[in-house]
Each structure stands twice: as structure tokens, then as C-alpha cells.
Symmetry: C2
């Protein structure tokens, strides 16, 4: 059996350490080509780590071609010829059928550090979280995208129609820095009808996902800008802004006046927040805080609120809440993506800039080409113009409303005996679960590991904390966008079983 | 007639000034909704500016919805309701046929500041250049993409097949930070066969065009990095790196040992260059300079060469020259895009990182999702796997070889009486033209304006200079990727006519 010393005090996650050990053994030949790796369960037990750790290492090795996975057989060391390895040599032991993508074993190669829904779901940033055990019953971390809901064939037909009707010139005009003008018009109309916003196409910038837009925002703000980020929040935000050299500071989620006071105490010139549906707490920013925030932004020149309108399409109960950008155009940078509605296979997002920043974009960043391909933009444009997008969103909302209701009901029954409760159900594609008897990180971790071994992946809210201390013991994120309806009773049952070592149920 | 004072000493280009004047008049109501603007020719004469200037202003106004263009009728002020303008209100006077993209008049809205081929062709950065006169006979600036050469219907069929065969899971795996693994495998194989490179899929990072990759490179290099940029060169490079806070310095194109000495004299830690086919000079880096450059990169830790393998697919004569990255893996960041081969409607590029930087990418930037959509990646992958991509490139090369030869021959005949000559024909999709009697910028500008009025757009080499003085009087760029074969005799004839005010033909 492979034996390695893994160091829990190391800053590298355990799975990464294990991956490096095995990779080194493959590279030096200690693990020969064709050798079968031990099963994940056996190796995990042998090394005293969780199976998720081993899975993480194996998935990384598979993603880089060091090992190949064969269904129901295990993992095998791929042919490896050292640094001079022929890159064209297929490393699959069984050659893939030509043209078949499915045969490439992708279910075994999840994004090594990227989640399935990369823009909105930070779950994968939590160490050891992103890798799915098999069999996976449900992934409640949000790292897995909903499947089978997007009308791909309809999309492909629309694309064909766009190609047949449009000229290449049309497609090329999509490379305009702000994106394809007809799509920006369709977005402006959508925002007016759906979010009550008065945006002009000239304020809209289309980009290949939220991360690209964050990068543009970082270049639009002055060099001495400091962006306040909600903590807990979307962990990659701090890494992205940090990687671009933008100073950030942490504030609690802006869900009450107290949190707002903490924002005022910082020297932040901008704040990145999610008023419709905060990630991960699920809270909605109350009206008084919205007013305070707008007043704050107006109080000094050059202050901006970056309104990440995460998940706004999927409010399932109550009235839709207008975004800040519907009340103020001059200080709010509005941002949204199609990741939740079209799926993460699309990299399309957009932002609405205040007129002054839109002008600055044209003068200072107008040399950039739009990062979304012309065909995708033209196809999405027609999807919106013909109403297909709205119909798709309505279908999705109906589906998610049903899943949300059923899951919440089943989970509530399971956790009620332990004094547990759910919060923020119906505000979007996730809610939170509180298990008050889980007072220590250790109890949480043991519970989550047991849950994961039984096929249900879930993250504690604390996984989304960065620097601020927070009173979130026993709080968990329940993100249900990938939950299959028939699995709901099983999920609840699994939870019921794993939750049982409650020392003193109330 | 509209009368505005345009200031030639202003840093704003004339077209931008004119655009702002007209916009202000529309916004204040001085130009009422529905009013017809004067014809471009009339207004140009009235204001004493070139028609291209007026076209630039009109195109910008149209792109932002202030005016609408009606074929053979002219430009009309769109309904404008001030700042509170309803964004959903269609500003087209004639409503577009539903679903019809062509009816939106896109030929009147070229990218306001972005060219048609945004990644490789900096022509649009030259003031007043990007906007096409009508009728346009030929655009030799490179700002217009080749049309009609890409097999869009084949692409659409392939996409359908990918969607039918693959799972959504497959598409989602494309969000991995470095991109879809099967596509990276196909790219590695392509690079091995076509460029003699030994790259592994783990070194490859896919991104939505070269500009996205530059942004990633900027984040991979240490904060105190200084990138040497060739001057003349691709003007947007300095703006992109500058906008990301990366220090740059200028060196002459690295085509001789003298230029290399100037690189050595800087404190640059990296150099961004185009060894296969330099833009805009068309020169190829000679073997001795290649060796010097690799030695330079190896001489100190943390030095890198960013090898922009611009245009390498379209070398039309002589042996293909292996890239620097085929000789050295540790210091060369290799970069290429599909913009020239698939067209600018695609936003797909890739880079091959040295192993150490690939590791750094995974640890420091692994939180990014790939910026290219899963469907595009999976479709391109199959295009490459089935050989369709190679066949397409071969067809393109045959086409371009013919255009290159015919155009060069026709131009040579036209310029020979004036002592003119061409250089670097056959190295790629552009070459240079030297007209020795055009010794002043003024003579150049008059010649180019006359040429543009006759329907041929061309840029002087000096348009691509940034800071270094350069001896390029009378040098012009001839980029022929969008030239129609039947137009070649007309182009040569137009040139012959406009060139005639030669004071003393040799």
C-alpha cells in the first residue's frame, strides 16, 4: 500500500499533498505505468485521511493525465515518459472512441479547483470540498450545476438560424468592447421589465463571466480604491481582487444597520455586495440598509456599490425586490450572469455601469475586445428577443420552487427532533440550516464527513468566512440547484442518520 | 447645416469631438427626434474634415442609439427622452423584423474603438482609422476580418453532434481553470505536429482571446516585473499591461543583434515578442537573435519570454520556423489564438506555460474559471480531433497564398515607377510597402486620405510606434486577410492613381 506522510500543519491541503506524493512516485518510476492504485476507501483508511481527500488527489492526477480511471476497475498509472513525454500520446489506457466525448471519463475529472458553477458558487474554494464521492446522492455545496434543464437542442437550432440569417459581419460586430449591441438592447429591455432598471445599452458591458467583469471593474476604479467585501461571502472575490492588486477589507454581510456601521468605519471607497440574496447566508438586504448604502455612496465622490445581483431570477416567494441600481444610476455598478439560468457551460455575464464609469470604460478600456464569442452573443440575443429565455427561466423557477419546497419540508422534519431550523427558504437557490447542538468545528466536521461518506456533500457556513470572527457554529449551507426531486426523501433520511450522535437532543 | 468648431490640437480625435457635439445637441433637443443628419460627404466638406471623421462620429452615435441609419436614406435622430429614456424603447425608426439580425444595420456600426480582428490587428487604435468608408474597396489595415471563409454550417453541425453525444457534465468540466482537458490534449498534439513543441496538457491554459491571456500573465509575473515591448508593435499591448499596473519599456523589434543589445540595456524581466512574424514590420526573428534571447532569459531567475506566435499558421513560403518554445520550455510563455484561423467571432486563445508557471497558475490563479464557454471548447476539440481544423487551415493557406502572390505582384507593378518596394512578402497575412518619395508625415497623411476616399484603407507603419523614434517614413502596412481576389486589380489601380503626386519619380 502507498504510504506517505501527510502534514496537517502544512498550508497545502491534504489532497494536494497526497497528489504531489503520488505524482512524484509516477514521475520517478516508483509507480510504474499500468500499475493499479489502491481503492480510495482503502487508501483513505491506510493514510488516516477522509476519502474525499483521496478522491481529490486522484481527480487531480486524472485531470493532468498521470492516472486514468476505469469505471468499476479503479485508477491506473498512465504511460509516463518523463519530461520528454510525447504530449500527443493518449494517456487513456483504453483509447477513446473517435469523436466521443463521453468516453473520456469526464465524470472522473471534475474541475481540480474550480467548481461546476464557477461564478456564483464558492464551495470549491473550501479545502477538500469540490470533489464528489461516488455514489453521490446530492451535492448541497452548490459546486455542482443543475443538469438536464437547459434546452441545448433549442440553443443549437437557434445558433443555426443565427448563422443562416446573419452575416459574419454581424458576428464580428460582437467584438465591440462592450459587446454585441442588439444583445445589449435585449438586456436593457430585460432589466427594465424584470428588474425595473432604466439602463441604456451604452451602460452595459458584456463579459465572459463574472470574473472577467470583476477584472474590468478593478481596472475602472482608481488605483487607491479599497473594496469592502462581505464576510462570510463569496471567497473567490478577495482572491480575484487581491490578485489584481486591489485593496479589500472585510465587513459583515450588509443585512442590518450594525453591519452598515462597520462599513462606515472602514476607509472603503466601494463595497461589493449581494442585496437580493446574500451568499452564503441567504439573507436579503432590508430596505433601510439599502437607503443607508445609497446615501453612503453618494456622500463622497468616487464611491461605488458593486451590486452582485446573484440569483435574482430565482426568488420563489414574495415580491421581487428591485435592485439598488433601480433607485440610483450614478453610484451602482450592477452585475449579473447567466450562469444560474443557462448553466455554467456558458460564460456570459454583464454589468451596467454608471454613466460616468461607462464613459471611463470607453476612454480607458475601449481597447479591449468583448470576451464572449460573437456566435454566443448573437444566439443569446435571439433567445431573449424571441422570449425563449423568459420561458426557460419560468420553467426553471417552477422546477426550483418545487424542489425548494419539498426539500425544505423534508429537511425540517429530519432536523426538528434536534432543535434544528432552516432560514431564508424561498429567497433563491440556497438556504441555511441551523443545528444548534453542533457547537464545535470538530462536531461539524465529523458530521459532514459522515454525511459525505453517505453521499451527501454539504458545507458549513464557516467555510465562507475569511477574516471576521462570526457566530455561525452549527450553520450550514443548503444549495439545492443540482438536487434531483426523487432523491429528496433519501437526502432527508441520510441527514437523519448522520445527525443522530446528538448528545442532548432538546 | 450643423456647424461645430473642431479643435485639431485637442487630444481627442476629431471624430470623437464631432460625436460629442452632435450627441450634446441631441440630448438638449437642439436636434429633434426624427431629424435627418446631413450626408457624410456634405458635412465633411462643411466642417473641413475628412469623410472618415464624419463616419466615425456617425457610427459612434449609431452604436449608442442616438441616431439610426437607414440604407440609402441617411442618418436620423432617434427618439431621445433625456436621462430617463426608456431603455426598452426601440430606437430604430423602422422596427427590426423579429429575429432578424441583418436588419439591424450592423454594417453601420463597426466596433467603435475595437477592430474587426481585435486580437492581432491594432489598426483600430490609430485615430480615425477603424471606420470604413462606403464603398470600401479594400481594408489593408487588418481591422476587417476575412469573411466567408469559415465553415460556420459545419461548425453548427459539429456543435449539434457534441450536444447530442456529450453530457452536460462534459460541458461543465470545461470550466476547469485551464480549460477543457480533451481540448488541451488536442492542442498539445497540434503543437507537437505543427510547431514541434513538447507541451503537456497540464501546461496549457485556454482563455477567451489573447487579451484575457495577457491579463493572466500579468497576474503570474512578480509585481516588480517589467515587460519589454517591441516598438513599433501591437499598440494595445502597452495599454493592456499598463491598465493592469505592469511596468513596460520599449525596445526595437527584435530582428537584429543591435535591438537585442537594447533589450539587454533595460531592466526588463520579460519580453513580449513575435518571433515568427513581427507585427507590423513582418520581419522574422533571425536564428542568432533567437539564441541570444533564450540565453538572456536563462541568465537570471524569473526571466521570461512571452512568445506571441501571431500568424504562424500562414507562413506562405520557406520552411516553417519552429517557435522559441520548441527549444526551451522553462523560460518561454507561448501564446496563440484562433482569431486568424477561425475568425474573430471566436474568442478562443491558449498559452503554454513553463512548468513552474503552470504550477504557479494552479496554486495562485486556480480559483479562476476558464473564460471560454464549454460548448465552444467541446466543439473546437472535436473540430481538431476529426481533422476538420487542419483541413480548414490548409484551405485558408491556399487561399491566402494566392491572394498574397497576386496582390504583391499587382502592387509591385504599381509602385515600381516611384521606386517603391515590398518587404517580407510571404511571411504571413501582411507585408510592408516602402514608398521612398513620401518623406514627410504630411505627404503620407495626404496620400492615405486620398486612398481612403477612393475606398482603400491603409495605415503607415508609424501608426504602430509608441515612444521610440524610428526611421519608417514612407513605410506602410499591407494586411491582406480581408482582400477579395477580384478586387486586386482595382486596388492596385487605386494605389497607382493616388500615388501619382510624386514630386520626382526616379
Amino acid at each position: 500500500m502507498l504510504t506517505y506522510e501527510l502534514d496537517r500543519t502544512n498550508t497545502l491541503p491534504l489532497y494536494d499533498q497526497l497528489y504531489r506524493h503520488i505524482r512524484a512516485d509516477i514521475e520517478c518510476g516508483a509507480l510504474a505505468s499500468g500499475a493499479r492504485l489502491p481503492s480510495k476507501r482503502m487508501l483513505a483508511r491506510h493514510l488516516g485521511v477522509s476519502r474525499i481527500t483521496v478522491e481529490g488527489a486522484f481527480a487531480q492526477l486524472a485531470a493532468e493525465g498521470y492516472v486514468t480511471a476505469e469505471e468499476r476497475k479503479g485508477h491506473f498509472v498512465a504511460p509516463f515518459e518523463g519530461a520528454a513525454a510525447a504530449p500527443g500520446t493518449p494517456r487513456n489506457r483504453t483509447p477513446a472512441a473517435p469523436g466521443s466525448i463521453r468516453s473520456k471519463g469526464f465524470s472522473l475529472c471534475p474541475a481540480p479547483s474550480g467548481p461546476a458553477e464557477p461564478d456564483e458558487t464558492p464551495a470549491a474554494s473550501a479545502p477538500d470540498a469540490p470533489l464528489a464521492p461516488d455514489p453521490l446522492l446530492a451535492d448541497l455545496t452548490g459546486a455542482t450545476a443543475p443538469t438536464g434543464l437547459f434546452p441545448y437542442q433549442h440553443w443549437a437550432r437557434t445558433l443555426r438560424a443565427v448563422l443562416a440569417d446573419g452575416s459574419e459581419e454581424t458576428l464580428l460586430s460582437a467584438a465591440q468592447p462592450q459587446g454585441f449591441l442588439p444583445l445589449r438592447r435585449a438586456l436593457a429591455q430585460h432589466l427594465r421589465g424584470f428588474r425595473g432598471m432604466d439602463a441604456t445599452p451604452g451602460q452595459i458591458v458584456i463579459g465572459a463571466g463574472a470574473q472577467v467583469l470583476y477584472q474590468l471593474i478593478a481596472q475602472l476604479l482608481p488605483p487607491d480604491a479599497c473594496i469592502a467585501l462581505e464576510d462570510p461571502g463569496y471567497p473567490r472575490l478577495a482572491r480575484i481582487y487581491g490578485s489584481l492588486g486591489v485593496r479589500t477589507c472585510a465587513v459583515p454581510p450588509l443585512t442590518d444597520a450594525h453591519a452598515f456601521e462597520q462599513l462606515r468605519a472602514t476607509d472603503a471607497t466601494a463595497v461589493h455586495c449581494m442585496p437580493s440574496h446574500h451568499f452564503p447566508t441567504g439573507a436579503t438586504m432590508p430596505a433601510p440598509v439599502r437607503s443607508l448604502l445609497i446615501t453612503w455612496a453618494q456622500a463622497a465622490p468616487g464611491r461605488f456599490v458593486i451590486e452582485d445581483d446573484y440569483d435574482c431570477e430565482f426568488r420563489m416567494q414574495g415580491k421581487a425586490i428591485p435592485p439598488l441600481a433601480a433607485r440610483n444610476q450614478d453610484q451602482i455598478i450592477y452585475l449579473n450572469t447567466f450562469t444560474k439560468s443557462l448553466g455554467a457551460a456558458f460564460r456570459i455575464g454583464y454589468m451596467v455601469l454608471p454613466p460616468a464609469l461607462a464613459e471611463r470604460f470607453r476612454t480607458h478600456l475601449g481597447f479591449y475586445s468583448c470576451t464572449v464569442g460573437g456566435m454566443d452573443q448573437a444566439t443569446l440575443c435571439r433567445f431573449m428577443e424571441t422570449g425563449a429565455y423568459e420561458r426557460h427561466c419560468n420553467r426553471l423557477r417552477t422546477h426550483y420552487r418545487r424542489v425548494s419546497r419539498q426539500l425544505a419540508q423534508a429537511l425540517e422534519e429530519a432536523i426538528r427532533p434536534h432543535g434544528g431550523s432552516l432560514a431564508n427558504v424561498g429567497a433563491g437557490l440556497h438556504f441555511t440550516m441551523h443545528l444548534p447542538h453542533m457547537r464545535t468545528e470538530c462536531a461539524q466536521a465529523a458530521f459532514l464527513e459522515e454525511l459525505a461518506n453517505a453521499g451527501v456533500r454539504m458545507n458549513p457556513l464557516s467555510a465562507y468566512r475569511r477574516t471576521l470572527p462570526s457566530d455561525d457554529a452549527g450553520m450550514f449551507l443548503v444549495s439545492f440547484s443540482s438536487v434531483d426531486e426523487p432523491a429528496i426523501p433519501l437526502i432527508a433520511n441520510t441527514l437523519r442518520m448522520c445527525i443522530k450522535p446528538s448528545p442532548e437532543p432538546r
